[in-house]
Symmetry: C2
Subunit: 585 residues, 2 copies
């Protein structure tokens, strides 16, 4: 079979996408020629257009489509040396880009063109006059475009159009009125760092292939442990693919610490293990228990008070109950910032109980960990320094681009013992550098994405005080929202009192429901209000906020603020929008 560069490409275009509108003869030939790889294609094309050096960047020919790129450079030099001037992407294919011979110029032009599309999107993301979302139902989106994958290549003009189309329907997660998830906002330094990470395109398993990133992970995790309050920042940790995996790591390590034989022998060799976490905790604890062969029945959900905090007496009662049954309590996962209420479990008291019963204390601070950066709010995590492990997701409250989740462990070396498999093709013991920087074997993964650089670079750019300012501002905005709606007609708070985190949970009660008694029918109708408003919100695309039921509470809005672009005016807007969209319900 032919190799690239020797006419391998078929001339036909199975999906018709390579067919320009009414091509002239030379242009049609050129387009065919361009389906060869860079060198040959360019030379053929050059013959047709008479420019031996820059055939793809035709200066005389008409672009074959109305969407062809125009020169974006405003320089007056002739010939223009700016890389992106007058490139006709309809004549170029991926095979014309680096590492193709003569690929440098088209590559720079193409990447610059992509960058322009991205920069436009970035600017639009922060523009309140644009929609947060241009919503289409799945069927509509599937039918409106041909997303299918074909045998034949598309030209770079089509590739650039796909970039534009993809962004057209993307959710602007950096938009000042996007409040839908715990991760919102688009940090410019973080974005730059993520672009760099993509460009470096490497893997965290060894120092050999990621020297700087491995060192930065070391430096950053140590700093996070210092902030948690472990002496001298000692301990261990890893950046994992999200909070759920970080929590699973904690469970895995806690089990190993108590019963190291589980690694070889499996759960059959150990007694029944029981984990405890609150009924408001994140579902990943159960997910982890299912995966690890512990079973979801062995995750005991401890009752919460009306603010969503774990009730300590219930925790101790359930621990004793488990022990009486002959089971082994091995983990308490306290939550610092629950997903819905934003509640902080009483960590100091949980630590006392864990100490008393010799149980591994994990703190799931995926959402609340950011508050450790604030001198004003970190008291809410008092006791976290007594934890054995902590999940902390900088991609949530600290605004780091997705994904960036850390699992911090107080005892050094445990992760390595728990997970290492000594693969000799990666972790050769006779390398010429200090092997303690080959950290890959402590991971559950083999290859691991570089998640640290964006956090590290943002931290350098903002300083700890920059994160602090961001977090204090978000909490202030949440309080602002709370103060507006707590006594406003048509609103009911899901729980009383000032929010501890930025979660503000409330029902909007449309006028038609305000007159009803608080009975089944009213609850049934109220449960439909938030989904209806949310659907209208998405269709109008003006803002996004989440809702859900919880326990015996019917659907309510859960407002969360982690978006650095949000202002008081955006909070005002949200309220007006809920009322505009919901008043007739």
């Amino acid at each position: 079979m032919a190799s690239p560069g020797s006419g391998f490409w078929s001339f036909g275009s199975e999906d018709g996408s390579g067919d320009p509108e009414n091509p002239g003869t030379a242009r049609a030939w050129c387009q065919v020629a361009q389906k060869f790889t860079g060198g040959i294609g360019n030379k053929l094309c050059a013959l047709l257009y008479g420019d031996a050096e820059k055939p793809a960047e035709s200066s005389g020919s008409q672009p074959p489509r109305a969407t062809s790129r125009k020169a974006a450079c405003s320089c007056n030099q002739k010939p223009c040396s700016c890389p992106k001037a007058e490139v006709n992407y309809a004549f170029l294919h991926a095979t014309d880009l680096l590492p193709a011979c003569d690929g440098e110029r088209p590559t720079l032009a193409f990447l610059q063109e992509v960058m322009d599309i991205l920069l436009q999107y970035v600017v639009k993301s922060f523009d309140r006059s644009t929609k947060v979302i241009d919503f289409h139902y799945p069927n509509e989106l599937l039918q409106e475009y041909n997303w299918e994958l074909a045998d034949q290549p598309q030209n770079l003009e089509e590739i650039l159009m796909h970039c534009q189309t993809t962004l057209k329907y993307a959710i602007k997660t950096g938009h000042p009125r996007y409040f839908n998830q715990l991760s919102t906002g688009l940090d410019m330094v973080g974005l730059a760092a993520d672009w760099l990470t993509s460009t470096a395109n490497t893997n965290m398993f060894t120092y050999e292939i990621a020297p700087v990133f491995v060192l930065l992970e070391y430096v950053t995790l140590k700093k996070m442990r210092e902030i948690i309050g472990w002496p001298g920042g000692s301990g261990d940790g890893i950046f994992s693919p999200g909070g759920a995996i970080s929590n699973m790591y904690a469970m895995l390590i806690a089990r190993f610490k108590m019963f190291p034989e589980v690694k070889e022998k499996g759960m059959a060799a150990v007694p029944r293990l029981i984990a405890f976490t609150s009924e408001h905790s994140h579902f990943s604890l159960k997910k982890g228990a299912a995966a690890l062969g512990i079973g979801t029945d062995s995750v005991i959900l401890i009752k919460c008070d009306e603010r969503g905090k774990m009730i300590l007496s219930d925790l101790e009662r359930r621990i004793l109950e488990a022990k009486q049954k002959g089971f082994v309590p091995f983990l308490v996962s306290a939550t610092a910032g629950t997903t819905v209420y934003g509640a902080f479990d009483p960590l100091l008291a949980v630590a006392d109980i864990c100490k008393k019963y010799k149980i591994w204390m994990h703190v799931d601070a995926a959402w609340g960990g950011g508050l450790l950066m604030s001198r004003k709010h970190k008291w809410k995590l008092s006791g976290v320094e007594r934890a054995n492990s902590v999940t902390w997701n900088p991609h949530k409250m600290m605004g780091v681009p997705l994904q960036c989740s850390a699992l911090l462990v107080r005892e050094e070396g445990l992760m390595q013992s728990c997970n290492q498999m000594h693969a000799s093709y990666l972790f050769q013991q006779d390398k010429h550098y200090d092997l303690s920087y080959d950290t890959g074997d402590k991971a559950l993964q083999c290859g691991r994405h570089v998640d640290v650089f964006k956090l590290w670079l943002m931290w350098r750019a903002k300083g700890t005080i920059g994160f602090e300012a961001h977090i204090d501002k978000c909490l202030e905005l949440a309080e602002y929202l709370y103060n507006i709606i707590k006594n406003r007609e048509g609103y009911e708070m899901v729980f009383d009192g000032k929010p501890q985190h930025t979660n503000v949970c409330f029902w909007y009660v449309p006028p038609s429901l305000r007159v009803l008694d608080n009975n089944e029918e009213r609850l049934s109708r109220l449960s439909k209000v938030a989904p209806m408003i949310k659907a209208r919100m998405m269709e109008s695309g003006t803002t996004m906020v989440s809702y859900q039921p919880l326990g015996d509470k019917v659907n309510f809005f859960r407002m969360v603020i982690s978006n650095p672009a949000a202002t008081h005016q955006d909070i005002d807007f949200l309220i007006e929008e809920i009322e505009r969209l919901g008043q007739d319900l």
Copy 2:
């Protein structure tokens, strides 16, 4: 506590990093002023420099450091409207960027500046006259720079310098002479797609916040299943954070299929489960078994023949042995492309055995899956269509940027049943769109990084035939290397015969060893040759290739070719370089 924009920033710079060299008075004041957030800082600075509109982009002042950015635009227009002209980044901080008021222009300039740094790196990556690696020992790198995280922010000039420094010490994984891992190369369309993914900054759990990406995952996984050979592309799947996690998923789902009660009850409720995989298989099978509570002792390693293929008689014997002991064989993981030898287990025969004993058949084609794209080479995976699940990492042989790993499952719905936890805050059942596109609950993760877009966009740009051409070329290069060294003086092949994948395993025997008898001493000395050459290779930075011992074979080189930039000349270079660096050993 004050919120940002009201003078929150401290004026001092604890780490001294904000202190320019001999600042003039106005400049010093301006720098202080810039520590305020955008609006105020800009206005103060503007007063000093007399430009009310563009204070940060001072035209008259000297940059405070020799490294300050110069205007890169070559346009002659005055005033220049190009965003990056004459911006002095030493006067700018992250707080001057969007969403700051008036943040658009500095943001565009800053991101463009970053892009220029990245583009330079991209071009250098493909330049054979540059080093693959500028190697420094961990201690040197730690001491040479201050990587520490501080309370105070750094200015954007320093941030840009960090980007340059990070790339200076990065491994050029796209360099034509980088052969160190299974993932090599830097695809320009893939890179553009990854930049777009970062910019969209969203999460795969729901259609609501990732509509296009969710649809593209659906389309792409279906296409991959078609290529595997499942009728109509039916089945299920997910992009996971790497092959190790994909393999763990397979194990998890296989266990659930046989004993669904394990989800609630844990491993205590099921008999002892046994998995089978070859002794040359990837270590992630054992890692997964340890994590899932199955235990590494329950992963039976089947013997391989001299080419690294699983021996079927040993597989059947060990299955019977396990059954006789009352254990339950639940999974056979065949490998299609082993990590070191690149061997393909005989999948059809494995499928027969799995059928006979009713065992889940998994194929770990993380490395070899790419060969399915080649009409010439896909026969090596014959029988993969009979697998129950397949791991296939497009980030390896298909050159997609890291990370991009898929787990494909033949039976639809199983992943969902196995992993779902019905979190009502994410997967509300009363949404207004088709909920089958909310795919997040079938994942082990909660949040999940968008890994699909780069594969999808590359596929559009190359077509299936483009991937085919790349793979055929890499295999041809491997054969070229094999043909050169198989009879060359000083080389011994680790196994005989033409490589099935691009793995070429060999010893380089320096002249001093060629005269020795094949005894213990020779083996001991030979085992030190590859590490020594590798260390010299990294120090000279000219190329990178991996080595390891395997079984009773002492350290040998494992050459793998997945790099689209590599040519015959680069293979020649590698051989010359090994001989140059190793001839005196």
